[in-house]
């Protein structure tokens, strides 16, 4: 094997001097006047030029213009429009502070024209989750959860309530890249998906990209969910908290040095034991989350951030068994302005996911652990050439270590011996370059390319097999041994990304996008919904990179002074080398796991309608998705095409909030979805004392249609001028009309509720599992 090593790849030096010299640049940060938080995605518009830009992920904007007098308009949802008149003669820095609109809108009068980013932005297939609205919507057990909100968006499908997984445009749950402050979260679930790991108190902004994915993102096929946490109020000290039926939380924020540096810390802990039906006193079930962040603005050109997240679940059952899993992430970021037009962000990111499972027994005691670590360095740069061209480029390198499992005896008398599956190592490099260019006054094109280079490296042994797909009679013929850092397999992929917007007339546009995505980390799970005990594998000797090509086209239109946003999007997505597993695959603790891999193709297409009302007393969204997803994988379902587990033909989601008065607001969500496919038996047979099912077709049945209505009401305490403390009560009712929606169906020997067999033990029955009946909850939230 050839020794292969990658040195430091230097960034492509971009000819910075080439752009026109007779221009002046205005640049700066846009912040929330009340707390100093940078605002992301603020529209900066110059009416006289009919041109503009938006603030980047760090709240920075830059416009290079010919010298002259201009009016800049800044607009952002939930904030009053702000304008700035400036005579531009040389390069200037202007930091903008925007005032937020009052939470309660007295009069439904729109003073300024609201922003039309929905129509004018070149980005399509992106949804921004408005945290202010999410807080007023009904939530399961009163726990505000952005993932549950993501599951309501058009183009997103859920496997059912009680899971934190979601399926975007025909992609499986592991094809979503979930980022918290740029750090990937490998398992976003608490309590097996009942809640997500995101504590709503600290979330500043979150966006879901379903298509037209920008070149700066890569690594997963179907979506990017980018969650950014607050930086902390740099003006004054504040706190927020809540006491709910499931969990309580507290968040503190404030300046370290006023307007220079700030911090935010938050914690959440559940007391979930209460809802366990079988009130077995010995059972312990809880989770916690801790978020902490500090930032320091050295000067306008240098800014530093440190963000930490840790969350964990611990479950133990009657001293017999214990489970635990958790994520921990750390991000260090340095925003640097080389000059008014060249913005750089360097991030150092670490992420860890691990789980442990323990059986307590004198003879059968064991501890099973597994983990996954990743360390990344990213340098992302934006070069604002002129209002018509914005160049983005960067370099990412990631190292990963996968430890799929170790089993150790935990008592001296245990029948088990220590066994460790070999670790796997991977290096991932990505270089990207893209440009957002205005062509004429009507068209904007964002075009770019991402080069991804993925290597599985040593140390490690690769087993060769007589038949690499034979998972019964496994015959190893040889072993290839690789030393530390030695290249095992390299995959190089070029990922083109294109997005086009064409304005038909004010308030109307057409958009088109194409993206190729490549995924080199594969979740080893064959159920519909991943559990935290699943492991990940890198692409390598046996697993090929998964590749997706997606075409999307859409029509975007705003009505009523941009307060009503409408869009319809169509997409067509094909995926190759989609990772699946042989029927009956043994995915846990298998030294010959590669014999279970089956990769194949997937095809998905769909149509998504969305109507969004952003202003007024009544705000909300209506979404309708029609979609179709099939898989064709050699070695699965006898090689016949089958519906993906999450194929639902029709999905309707409605979310609405209504501001009734200064004190009361109301929220409602309704969801309807075609039942998901499931594999059910066609018959049974006798073998020994057992009556196993006869299976004929994977996903040959469909569960009944899913529908559910949730309601909420928020009662705010009266505002008292000299009191800082403000409280509110949130009342939620989940599943108002008590629909018993099918979660899954399984079969068993016919028995009564106590487990006594009915009849002679040859009769079978199918059982429908449903999760939540009507569930009211109350949460008290406060700020000070």
């Amino acid at each position: 094997m050839k020794q292969f090593s990658w040195g430091v790849i230097l960034l492509i030096a971009f000819p910075l001097s080439a752009a026109a010299q007779d221009k002046a640049t205005i640049s700066g940060y846009v912040r929330d006047a009340s707390n100093g938080e940078e605002l992301i995605g603020v529209t900066v518009y110059i009416p006289s030029l009919q041109a503009g830009t938006t603030t980047n992920a760090y709240g920075f904007y830059s416009l290079s213009l010919p010298p002259g007098t201009y009016t800049l308009q800044f607009s952002y949802v939930g904030f009053k429009n702000t304008s700035l008149d400036i005579e531009l003669t040389g390069n200037v820095t202007r930091n903008i502070a925007m005032e937020s609109e009052a939470t309660y809108i007295q009069e439904v009068v729109v003073e300024d024209e609201a922003i039309d980013a929905n129509v004018t932005d070149v980005q399509m297939s992106r949804n921004t989750i408005d945290m202010n609205q999410v807080r007023k919507l009904p939530a399961l057990f009163g726990e505000v959860d952005i993932i549950k909100n993501v599951q309501m968006l058009p183009g997103v499908i859920t496997a059912g309530e009680g899971t934190s997984s979601f399926f975007v445009r025909g992609g499986s749950a592991d094809q979503n890249l979930i980022l918290i402050d740029e750090a990937p979260v490998y398992d976003p679930s608490h309590l097996f998906g009942l809640f997500s790991v995101f504590n709503a108190d600290v979330i500043k902004d979150s966006e879901l990209y379903k298509g037209g994915i920008p070149a700066r993102f890569g690594g997963r096929l179907s979506s990017i969910l980018e969650v950014r946490t607050k930086d902390g109020n740099n003006r004054e000290f504040h706190g927020t908290g809540g006491i709910g039926s499931m969990a309580s939380r507290i968040m503190l924020e404030g300046p370290i040095r006023k307007e220079k540096s700030s911090f935010i810390v938050s914690a959440r802990r559940s007391y979930a034991d209460l809802f366990l039906r079988a009130a077995n006193e010995d059972n312990l079930v809880y989770f916690f989350d801790v978020n902490a962040k500090a930032n320091w603005r050295h000067n306008n050109n240098n800014r530093f951030f440190v963000a930490l997240y840790a969350g964990r679940d611990d479950l133990s059952f009657s001293d017999d068994a214990g489970f635990g899993w958790g994520n921990a992430t750390a991000t260090f970021r340095w925003n640097h302005l080389f000059n008014d037009r060249l913005f750089s962000n360097i991030s150092l990111i670490a992420s860890n996911f691990d789980y442990a499972l323990e059986i307590f027994d004198p003879a059968q005691g064991l501890k099973w652990t597994s983990n996954l670590q990743e360390l990344s360095l990213k340098n992302d740069l934006s070069y604002f050439i002129n209002p018509g061209n914005e160049l983005s480029f960067g370099y990412h390198i990631t190292g990963r270590r996968f430890s799929p499992g170790t089993i150790k005896p935990n008592t001296p008398g245990s029948i088990f011996t220590t066994v460790e599956l070999q670790k796997q190592y991977a290096l991932d490099h990505a270089l990207y370059l893209s440009n957002r260019q205005n062509i004429g006054s009507r068209m904007t094109v964002d075009y770019g390319v991402r080069l991804s280079i993925f290597q599985q490296v040593g140390k490690g042994d690769i087993f060769l097999y007589e038949d690499p797909k034979d998972n019964v009679d496994i015959v190893r013929t040889d072993t290839l041994t690789f030393g530390a850092w030695e290249n095992i397999k390299t995959y190089v992929n070029l990922e083109p990304r294109v997005a086009v917007r064409y304005s038909l007339r004010p308030g109307q546009s057409l958009k088109f996008s194409y993206n190729r995505m490549v995924q080199n980390t594969h979740l080893i799970a064959s159920g519909t919904v991943p559990v935290p005990f699943n492991t990940w594998n890198p692409s390598g000797y046996y697993l090929k990179p998964q590749i997706a090509d997606q075409f999307a086209a859409g029509y975007f239109r705003n009505f009523r002074d941009n307060t009503l946003e409408f869009s319809v999007e169509a997409y067509y997505k094909t995926m190759s080398n989609v990772t699946d597993f042989a029927d009956n695959a043994q995915l846990f603790f298998n030294e010959d796991l590669s014999t279970e891999f089956r990769q194949g193709d997937s095809e998905s297409y769909g149509l998504e309608f969305m109507l969004n009302k952003t202003e007024g007393r009544l705000t909300g969204m209506v979404g309708y998705t029609w979609s179709h997803t099939v898989r064709h994988i050699e070695g699965v379902n006898l090689g016949r095409e089958f519906f993906a587990n999450y194929d639902r033909r029709n999905v309707i989601n409605i979310m609405a909030t209504y501001e009734h008065s200064e004190r009361w607001s109301f929220g409602a969500t309704f969801t309807y979805a075609t039942g998901r496919p499931i594999t059910l038996p066609e018959g049974k047979y006798e073998f020994g004392n057992y009556n196993p099912d006869v299976i004929t077709e994977r996903n040959g049945y469909r569960l009944n249609d899913y529908h559910r209505l949730d309601l909420s009401a928020t009662l705010r305490q009266r505002v008292r001028p000299n009191r800082k403390w403000r409280g509110e009560w949130v009342f939620s009712i989940f599943n108002v009309y008590n629909q018993q929606n099918a979660f899954t169906v399984y079969t068993r020997t016919k028995q009564d509720d106590d487990g006594n067999i009915i009849g002679d033990g040859t009769e079978k029955e199918a059982r429908l599992v449903y999760l939540f009946p009507i569930l009211p909850s109350v949460t008290y939230n406060f700020t000070f």
């Binding site: 039906r277 603790f589 047979y685 020994g688 004392n689 994977r698 996903n699 020997t749 429908l768």
Partner: protein, 279 residues
């Protein structure tokens, strides 16, 4: 063991989520009946049989239809063939069971081939008979948790098994447990089988999965099984305990060693057993 852990996970997910259940009526399409073959060859007398039946509708009750007119024979790797005949004792409960015409024992290290001709179709299977570790001893003790709240009054003794697991070979095992000579499962979908990947040599005091009363006779029967049989029982266990594919793999038919689409398994095993009376 891995299997048990996986089931535990699935089970606890649903408990943690506080799930409820109700009966669900399947809209089954009547599928063509398939031939089901269950065959066993061991190194001890009395165990040898081949049972031939047909698959049936999911909601049928009682015994599945039996095939009583098949031709059945087993040939060992030395070429010695033994004919099996249908229910030689003409016992009414043994319809569908075929027994060797003459006394016949399996031998360690030999491979056995089964040929069944039923409904004009030929079905074949093959398995190898591997040695099995003997059980060294059994002891019993009161299980205090069970004594506090026994599922069945007085039944709170657990029986502990002591044995050695040979570390130099890759072995697979299947276990049967008997209470007073009656085959007993703790749960109707339980199968007791294991490989030895994570097992240490000293197996001291592993408990039987069922409880006993004073005066009960407890028996453990251990079979050696081939890798193929292990895979079959693993698949069978996944199928019997599946959750519809929500967290576990979607249900699928068991991989077996039978040709021509027959369900079931033809197994060759060495067998050892030991019993103890709880006093």
């Amino acid at each position: 063991m891995k299997r048990t852990l996986v089931h535990l996970v699935s089970l606890f997910v649903l408990i943690a989520l506080g799930s409820c259940e109700k009966e669900y009526i399947l809209r089954t399409n009547p599928a063509d009946a398939k031939i089901v073959i269950e065959g066993l060859v061991t190194d001890k007398p009395g165990y040898q049989y081949v049972k031939i039946s047909r698959s049936t509708d999911f909601y049928s009750s009682g015994k599945t239809p039996r095939v009583t007119d098949a031709l059945v024979r087993v040939t060992d790797s030395d070429g010695v063939t033994t004919e099996f005949v249908h229910n030689p004792g003409a016992h009414p409960d043994s319809s569908g069971y075929y027994k060797p015409v003459a006394p016949f024992l399996g031998a360690l290290g030999k491979t056995y081939s089964l040929v069944v001709i039923a409904d004009g179709q030929e079905y074949r299977g093959e398995d190898t008979l591997y040695p099995v570790t003997t059980v060294d001893s059994l002891t019993y003790q009161i299980n205090e948790d069970e004594q506090e709240d026994p599922e069945h009054p007085g039944r709170y003794y657990e029986v502990l098994i002591y044995t050695r697991e040979p570390q130099e070979t890759r072995d697979y095992y299947l276990f049967n447990f008997y209470r007073n000579d009656s085959l007993t499962l703790a749960n109707p979908e339980d199968i007791y089988f294991t490989d030895d990947i994570v097992l240490a040599e000293a197996i001291n005091g592993i408990t039987m999965p069922i409880f006993f009363s004073q005066g009960d006779k407890a028996t453990v029967e251990a079979f050696s099984i081939s890798r193929q049989a292990f895979v079959f029982f693993n698949d069978l266990s996944i199928l019997l305990n599946n959750d519809g594919g929500m967290y576990s793999p979607p249900p699928a038919n068991c991989r077996n060693n039978l040709s021509n689409g027959a369900l079931g398994f033809f197994r060759a095993s060495a067998v050892t057993s030991m019993d103890i009376v709880v006093e």
